[in-house]
Symmetry: C2
């Protein structure tokens, strides 16, 4: 508490790592030295984080009346440097309504990727088996200044692939493109501890830094890797792949049931899970999924952890929500079980198999104390025996094409999601209405005809009435159909929107490593680094390359598998639907034969 | 030319029998005596007809400067006396834009029934086989002051069944309801020649008067009826019916061809007709259909003559119009051939069989000189041998229920027509768009996927592209489908809108006859009429009753036949459509099996 500062203006934290300030609030500073215009400190609510240096004045004397606030420092992220002019809007003093970026994403807007950092911070520390943090909204979306809600249902896609997605300015914003990296970094590097010859990335938001990727590449990770912890990449027919799980399994999730405790004072929803490899059922609540998800995010930097359905503060016991969440959890479970690395990790196995409350708590603590995270995680990666060192240019090229692919897929997914949603709405409104209006009109005319009750008209009149009913029913069928075909497609798209939102960080870690290789080579050429050290850096980078290419390959494999089977399902459902319509009409037609 | 008058104001003829006047124009009067406020005369264009007496001044000296026009006499029609207050708008001096009642019917508005009177007047007298009156627009809808265009496509239904149809004020407007008849009639009857004991209806617009029904009932018709002219009503299982044509036939109408004459200066459309009973083809133009239609209207007062498609001034050679007109003519021909009386009448047979131009002209003149029209027509009606005299109350009751039926059917037809039209439009716009948007979205995502060309994705990518195309094609199919199913339904509805518009006059004639019976009975009770005379009136009324009930019965029979077969056609087409959609989807699904 040596250094203190007073906030000159309100500042609303919009990204993990930032803290909000209230005008006139007194903060303690960690250092008077700003980094690219940002200071670190602890605000009056005890929250530690970054804020614009220009928004505070260091307390040395009484402050003069404050001048109008200067703009905050620019976001240093120029990784996707084609942000439009209006793309990055600096935070404004919030006399006006606070920007709601993190709290209410309009449909189709960009949703920041939840980061491991965030989860470490927001993770409650209590171990109570049945505590209510999931069921209360305090950590959910409506807390001002809270972290963005994880989950893939809220937003309409993640557009970090697209430079035009102006609202994305998240954890990765301070990583510079490889070309401009060393210059910028060197200008500030004197202020940081600089023991390594290769300059260190100052930006704490960089995924490369955050995940421990940098520390690993620079040779700072050290730990004992048990054989069981090894994550093996093998050479597949199409390049590096994760070694398949030799004992694949699945896990069903039953319709959840509502449970109560404290004599009915508290209610929660419990899911029965039945993993195929143990055959032993376990009961889990949403908060357990959430705990696991957080652990996985923290542990696996170059793996796309499937997202769990979003938290929801209200309507948690409504059937629609429960059914939707269950579908989301089933997708999540499928992607977990399908992943050769995730499916075998300790935390997931603990989650799937533990039936005892005491063991649960022990296992939970053990997972939370896992020291094979961060830089050490990369130690557990193992390349194929005798595998060649991948050409960094090749890896860079593959990253580029995956990035192009992911960008296009993200756009395609967003487009299809919007179209499917619109189509479902149209079927439930317009299509239904049109068919039912036709039904009404047939019925209306039929009712007029019924005034004439001569023997030769009676059968025909009945057939007309039936036809009217048939079109009414067809209208209803159109309205109901999207549940069978479009909704599953949209569920699938949501899962992949989550994955696509995960990949920028994976790409980022990989690019950071490749940059280090390039820098180290340059240093060697300039005689500033020993060849061995550069060679070690390249070798460690190579391990990351194997892992990220394996992860990309895994993504393609499950993508083709999932989309193929969902398209088949969709078409099959559509066929069944049109056959049902046809059947209904044939039934109506037969009434005329009899007439 | 003894009496002349000068028009004080513009007057626009709005009903058959009226003539238009231009301010200051000089007319010759048929009589100085007005009838209920109307005078008859010949205007400067040689058109003879009625106009409000108050709109002219008889020329005796130079006219003074005209005072503002008084309102024209009220329309005396109170047959459907619940016309709303604004229903009958008296013609206004046309300083303002002329009312367009007769010329532009908004969709859904009421279209006046063309009357025989009108056709007699507007019928051109020339006999030229190929004259151009059909092809010029001079008699068509755009001539100011012209008669309403006949045909059933223009308006959206005929609502004389409905008291709220305020714009209907046609040829039947002066017929009073039976209850109020004698009083009103007697007040004016002194002015008319009054030889019969039963008072005569003064209103020349009354269908009962116009058709000669009144004259016939009063015993004034006299003529020699050849056996071949006899129109027999028989006692069917459900009441009076027209005697079936023992030699039923049909007649096909081929795709019309464009013909030219005067070395290509003039063009016209010619239809090849092939009647099944002669097997000899004849060529007819629209004007020949129109001539025949006019003759039939004139000749058959208690028969619903099917309407021919409307005249059209522009676009007559456009394919859509030609195809639409042909469909209309096919329907017309079907209804002509189906009608036991119409199918056998001389004019129709002449039309169907004459191949020689000279014979055509002779036959045409003969038909036009037919003396079995008007009152004499009723002489040709023949009741079943030994048939009982129908109870006038029963007949009245049957008329009432048919009227109720027709009103409901008319509403139902209008509703279905609007719904079908709207549904067709929706399929061509919204439905098509939605399916094609889904196709685009699948294609878009598929194109993103194509960036990944690994062997395991290639087949799937192709399947995605195919699915996109399939949905695009389905959109197109939706847009095209209405031609196959909804359009024929709407064609059918148009035919029946025409019939429904014909029935008020048929009902009217019947009611007029029944009124005469009632009056004559009263006169007998009061000792003003001999029993024999009243008995003769009842007998003649009975003949009309047989005919109109037979016509109603015929209507029901063809209605059930037509609607049944069209509903079957519609449903069959819809089934085929949905099967085609299903097939397309199955084709798409198979691509995934191969993938």
């Amino acid at each position: 508490m040596s250094l203190r500062a007073r906030a000159l203006y309100d500042f609303r934290a919009e990204n993990p790592g930032e803290v909000s300030l209230r005008e006139a609030e007194v903060l303690s500073l960690c250092s008077e030295q700003d980094i690219e215009g940002w200071l670190e400190g602890v605000n009056s609510r005890g929250e530690r984080g970054l804020f614009p240096a220009s928004y505070v004045e260091v307390i040395r004397s009484e402050p003069a009346s404050p001048p109008p606030p200067p703009p905050p420092p620019p976001a240093p992220d120029s990784r996707y440097s084609n942000l439009p002019a209006g793309g990055y809007s600096p935070p404004q003093p919030s006399a006006q309504a606070p920007p709601q970026l993190a709290f209410s994403f309009p449909a189709g807007a960009v949703q920041p990727r939840p980061s491991a950092l965030h989860y470490q911070q927001s993770q409650p520390s209590d171990d109570d088996w049945d505590d209510e943090w999931d069921d209360s909204s305090s950590t959910a979306a409506d807390e001002p200044g809270g972290a963005p809600t994880p989950g893939y249902y809220g937003g309409g896609g993640f557009h970090d692939y697209d430079g035009s997605s102006s609202r994305y300015r998240m954890s990765t914003r301070s990583e510079l493109p490889p070309g401009s990296y060393s210059t910028t970094a060197s200008s500030a590097s004197q202020a940081a501890k600089g023991s390594a010859t290769v300059s260190r990335n100052l930006n704490r938001f960089s995924a490369f830094v955050k995940t421990g990727g940098e520390a690993f590449v620079l040779g700072e990770a050290a730990g004992f890797v048990r054989d069981g912890d090894k994550l093996c990449v093998v050479q597949g027919p199409h390049g590096p792949e994760w070694q398949e799980n030799p004992y694949p399994f699945g896990c069903s999730i039953d319709e959840p049931t509502k449970q109560t405790k404290f004599k009915g004072m508290k209610s929660y929803i419990s899911y029965r899970l039945l993993p195929s490899h143990t055959g032993l059922q376990v009961y889990r609540r949403y908060k357990h999924f959430d705990w696991l998800y957080t652990r996985l995010l923290e542990k696996f930097p170059v793996i796309s952890v499937p997202r769990i359905p979003e938290k929801q503060a209200t309507g948690r016991f409504e059937e629609d929500f429960i059914s939707k969440r269950r579908k989301g959890l089933i997708w999540w479970m499928d992607h977990m079980c399908s992943h050769p690395v995730l499916s075998r990790c300790d935390a997931f196995q603990h989650f799937l198999t533990c039936t005892d409350e005491k063991a649960w708590k022990q296992g939970k603590r053990k997972c939370e104390k896992d020291d094979m995270v961060g830089a050490n995680f990369f130690l557990t990666l193992s390349t194929p025996p005798g595998a060649p060192v991948l050409d960094p240019h090749d890896v860079e090229g593959k990253l580029d094409s995956f990035k192009a692919f992911a960008k296009r897929m993200d756009e395609g997914v967003l487009q299809l999601n919007q179209t499917a949603g619109e189509f479902a709405r149209k079927q439930a409104s317009g299509f239904k209405k049109e068919y039912q209006k036709v039904g009404m009109a047939f019925k209306g005319l039929g009712q007029a005809f019924e005034i004439d009750q001569q023997p030769f008209s009676v059968g025909f009149n009945r057939a007309m009435a039936f036809t009217g009913d048939a079109y009414d029913a067809i209208g209803e069928m159109f309205a109901e159909q999207p549940r069978q075909d479009l909704d599953p497609i949209m569920d699938l798209l949501a899962v992949y929107q989550g994955h696509l939102a995960n990949f920028p960080d994976i790409i980022h870690v990989q690019r950071g490593a490749l940059t280090k290789v390039r820098e180290s080579k340059k240093h060697v050429e300039e005689g500033k680094m020993e060849l061995q050290k550069a060679s070690d850096i390249q070798e460690r980078c190579n391990i990351i390359s194997y892992a990220s290419l394996a992860e990309i390959q895994h993504f393609h494999k499950i993508r083709v598998r999932d989309f193929k089977s969902q398209m088949q399902h969709f078409l099959q459902q559509q066929i069944t639907f049109f056959q049902k319509v046809t059947l209904k009409l044939e039934e109506a037609l037969q009434k005329y034969d009899a007439a």
